[in-house]
Symmetry: C2
């Protein structure tokens, strides 16, 4: 079969052996697979990523000197069932699944693995127990957005929302947009979002942001503070020793950029007692001045991935039209277009989410 | 009056004008004042500390080029009442207070201020509304430990303990010891504590640590994991997708060292989903690899100071004998001994808490 393969730091098109389903596995045709910012990061920082993953017990990192097929945001169609399957869904059924294969020694990742082919290939293997049927009629390129939406849903879950917080989303790439969509569903308002790109800000509004900010012209934290002023009742309810502090509602800051220096920016700009949810995946070493975080008593919640329940909920949200997933998709390419798509995604004005359709 | 003054990076003894109580203030005789690790840090990093504090709205940083009298862990005796006071406590009453002066424009710190003299002086000013009477008979050198204990009490409050967590305290200086004491009162067990110093480990046991570790010989996180194994019921209650992860109780890691590199060590060593409470005050720029924190979904809570309620509770805990405060005090010195005490505190085998008694 054909695949766009990460090989020695580049994305190349080549043929590779057909996958053969093992026990409990199904062979699927990849209908659609989103390109994730992490794939771009992983291509650039593959060795660093592998070195760090190797230091975490229980994780088997990819070896970047060997072939890898990326792609962990997929929607597929069942072709065949391996041994020991229950055939819950018949051939032809469209399915999503979180990007993992169940094995006797534990789950293994799909998409950053030398063994488990990701969605930039014509066919791949999935574990039957993880399959979710795509509700009738949802196009595969929208169902493929389940995974990135689940990242946002999970981030908002981990934010421990109690009601009354005012969220600020830093960065409106696919991760930031997913966070905005999840915040809207949670009912938190106003949702304030910042991005340098006009196209991304327009998308942020479409997905639920109430206020969008261009950090080149408006200081995001100043704008946040304008929208986070306490009511007279909230002011009166504060303990007396807080009466000299700014009367602001609790801050939820979502870091959805993932480059070095962002945490320091948040340390500088965040109000006291802010809860910071780090959703952007910074793969480099980072620096910050902890004293700022200490004096402000900031809370930093690093988040990663999602639970199976959050993943299933995300597919439902898209299928029910509660999240306007379609608006994120800016291009659809075949296997031959993956390498160029990696380049094109550098321009936020042109692209947000490019979907790979390996059958094209 | 005489004072040990921070002047141009050094601690020198000199005379200075008698403080005169303003509206709502009382003049007090300093009976006892602990030397805090932050004072040692502040002496070394005064300019950096001032520069960072200047960037936080609402804070008036000290100017390290002008005289400062440190000392924010004090027990005093009332000498005289200023205008506009209610004379709640008569002259001669022993009092503690959190280190702040109330002013019409908000609270100002005591101890890192060019205006407000701290406890390394014979006399100082306090705000009457903040005074807490020292319960009868508690020696001033023990009442002076209220402030550092409050730091530990606050850190444990901010840890959002739900029961069932297993705490690991990294560093058993006064801050770590206060955290251990507060954890013991909270009823969390086993309390695991790590320090290179045998003297500090002995103190940690005395204050409530159940397991003490010398990191030179035992990996703290490996030892923590041994004591954090889930029961069979806890194992069975996990969601199925967690069944391949190590069956460990939730981790609460208290960082009580406050030097660069500690957060990275925690990123490396901490188990998945650990809640990290940063109590040590790192005044330098720090670096870390966020990807480790991300993949493990760590939560970092920076903490600073305490509430008035926590401060009052800490004084009660010492007075009621629930915390063996006396065990922390390793020396008592006069004003002339402060400079040498700053040097001596570098050796954890010899000293934990040195109390300044300016009347000596």
């Amino acid at each position: 079969m054909r695949a766009a393969i990460f090989r020695q730091g580049e994305i190349v098109v080549d043929t590779m052996p057909e996958p053969v389903p093992g026990s409990g596995q199904v062979l699927v045709k990849t209908l659609a697979c989103g390109i994730c910012g992490s794939d771009l990061h992983a291509r650039k920082h593959a060795h660093r990523l592998a070195a760090i993953a190797a230091r975490i017990p229980g994780r088997k990192p990819m070896d970047p000197s060997r072939d890898v097929v990326f792609g962990h945001e997929f929607c597929c169609e069942i072709i065949d069932h391996g041994p020991g399957t229950q055939k819950r869904f018949k051939a032809g059924t469209r399915v999503c699944a979180l990007p993992a294969l169940l094995t006797p020694t534990g789950p293994q990742g799909i998409g950053y693995s030398n063994e488990n082919v990701g969605g930039y290939a014509e066919r791949m293997l999935l574990s039957e127990p993880l399959l979710l049927e795509v509700p009738n009629g949802l196009p595969p390129e929208h169902a493929a957005l389940t995974e990135p939406l689940a990242v946002g849903v999970h981030a908002v879950e981990k934010a421990r929302v109690q009601g009354g917080e005012v969220p600020l989303v830093i960065g409106c790439g696919p991760v930031g947009l997913a966070v905005i969509a999840a915040l809207k569903i949670k009912g938190l308002h106003p949702i304030i979002a910042a991005d340098y790109s006009p196209a991304r800000r327009a998308l942020a509004e479409r997905l639920g942001a109430d206020v969008v900010i261009d950090p080149a012209h408006t200081q995001p934290y100043a704008s946040w503070a304008e929208h986070a002023a306490m009511s007279a009742e909230e002011k009166a309810a504060r303990p007396p020793w807080q009466s000299f502090q700014p009367a602001l509602k609790p801050a939820l800051i979502f870091e959805c950029v993932g480059v070095p220096g962002l945490i320091q920016q948040i340390f500088e700009g965040a109000p006291r007692d802010a809860r910071v949810i780090v959703v952007g995946v910074c793969m480099e070493s980072d620096h910050a001045e902890p004293l700022l975080g200490i004096i402000k008593e900031l809370n930093i919640q690093y988040v990663y991935a999602y639970t199976p329940e959050e993943f299933a909920a995300s597919l439902r949200l898209i299928a029910e039209g509660q999240v306007d997933a379609a608006s994120m998709v800016t291009a659809q390419v075949g296997i031959d277009g993956v390498a160029q798509a990696f380049e094109d995604l550098a321009n936020p004005e042109r692209h947000t989410k490019i979907i790979v359709e390996p059958w094209r």
